[in-house]
Symmetry: C2
Amino acid sequence: MLETWSLRVLVEVAERGSFSAAANALTMTQPAVSRQIAALEHRVGVALFRRVPRGVAPTAAGTIAIDEARAILGRLAGMEARLGAFAELRTGLVRVSAFPSANTEFVPEAIRRFSDLYPGVDVSLVVGGWRAIRSGDVDVALVTDWDRVDDDGVALVPLLEEEHRVALPAEHRLAGLTTVPLRELRGETWIEGSHPDCLGPLEGLEKALGGPPRIGFTCDDWTGKQALVAAGMGVTIISTLAGSAVRPDVALRPASPALPRRHVLAAVAPPATRTAAASAMLIVLTTLAAGYH
Amino acid sequence: MLETWSLRVLVEVAERGSFSAAANALTMTQPAVSRQIAALEHRVGVALFRRVPRGVAPTAAGTIAIDEARAILGRLAGMEARLGAFAELRTGLVRVSAFPSANTEFVPEAIRRFSDLYPGVDVSLVVGGWRAIRSGDVDVALVTDWDRVDDDGVALVPLLEEEHRVALPAEHRLAGLTTVPLRELRGETWIEGSHPDCLGPLEGLEKALGGPPRIGFTCDDWTGKQALVAAGMGVTIISTLAGSAVRPDVALRPASPALPRRHVLAAVAPPATRTAAASAMLIVLTTLAAGYH
DNA sequence: GAGGAGGTATACGTTCGACGCATGCTGGAG
DNA sequence: CTCCAGCATGCGTCGAACGTATACCTCCTC
């Protein structure tokens, strides 16, 4: 099967013009080179070098073999370079999945920083969720501690804690307060998301209200929730991660008693099987999260 | 240096989808494949396969590696094929050198037969002589036993014996005889070649003539010798190998006593360093010579 | 012409890498 | 819940390739 090393020796012999010189250049001995070439010639059934007094000279077949060998070795080097680009993050792909509020500001900023650091690596924002980590369809998934991530094949890295705000129509009677007492919202219609990612049933809310919230709508679409609030159809709770992405006709106010915080974590493959790009993205995420108060 | 076998294992794994299946296909064991891929991945610093329940699936880098590996293996096969063409005489070059009279009929016929048998092999008629066998500039050199081939690095293969004829002008007074008595030519002017290849001083001629021949011209050019004879400038001796190539205004006649025969041999490199094309040409030469009476 | 220098081929002992076997581990299927 | 398919790893073994030593050859020089 014509091993690569033979080709390397072949080219070196061709360039040096003698087995001895090639052996020196390759940090091996002359007999080793002699045997390599002899084995190669026996393999292909054709003499590749004529043994001349001062060394060796390629035959017609040898010239072809040398050219081919050069091309093949070049191709091999190219292959190594292309793969090395992955290892050195000069190319590649990292697929990120996040819940809606993280996608409003935090994740885009992380992607921006990542792309500055590694311009060659593509970043793709996908919808796989943390379960896709196992299957390899997602490299980094942002989750919260409300997600029941019970797969020990998925590593969790804490990023930050997000707080929650009550989202009111801008003209709501309580919108002028800096802090909204929750019990004042007992009679309001509430908008919930059915999926934990989308801020579903908030634990502790019932107790703070002094009774079960009256659920008027269920909407997983984060933009839709905002729209419903702006239209005066109800109130809801929105994560501070949403940041400045909230539309101006919706007011965000801290609640009293304070709403429970939610931990945001990055779900990634365990270090052993983790992509270099995923590790890099994880670092970007953690450093970015450290900048969040 | 990324050995070929790794690439072979790589593509086999890619095609089978599992280490075990690839191991079967390659008549090796699953652990061996596992180690090969692991070493390859460690070498390039990138995971090439994701380990999935039913086997393995290539990563992005793995896909590139597989494509490259396929291309490189194909190129390697191509190289082997191109070199194999030399071994199987589907291409190549054989350089033949011969003395002038052999070039008139014998060698051209041999080349014709050779080219019929091996259309891909180029045949080149060169002027190196038997000394060029050693240097590799000539593959087969036709020589006679008058050549002092004293190099044991050159093998000699007997081909045939050539006879000699006296060459007379067609209107010569003796041209009508079927056999020319040499002593009748005592007074003639003789044309000799200085080089043995060109029929130089003929041993025994002096004794047959009853005295030293009177040398009028020395001409190494075989055509020139004929022309001189035709012009009536003298007589000479020409090998029967010249055959029908002798011009019609020159008569060839056997001499009495018979002129000494000359052995024609093929000088080639010893079998160890002999080209396949040279061996093939040698066979053609010997079979062709066997047909000569 | 004898000897030295430079180069290749071969014999022999050794070493190191790759393999096979056995085993453990994991994830999905019945 | 058990079984099975498949990958990873430890261990002992074997062989391929290497290095050392040496023979042989050619050319060059004195």
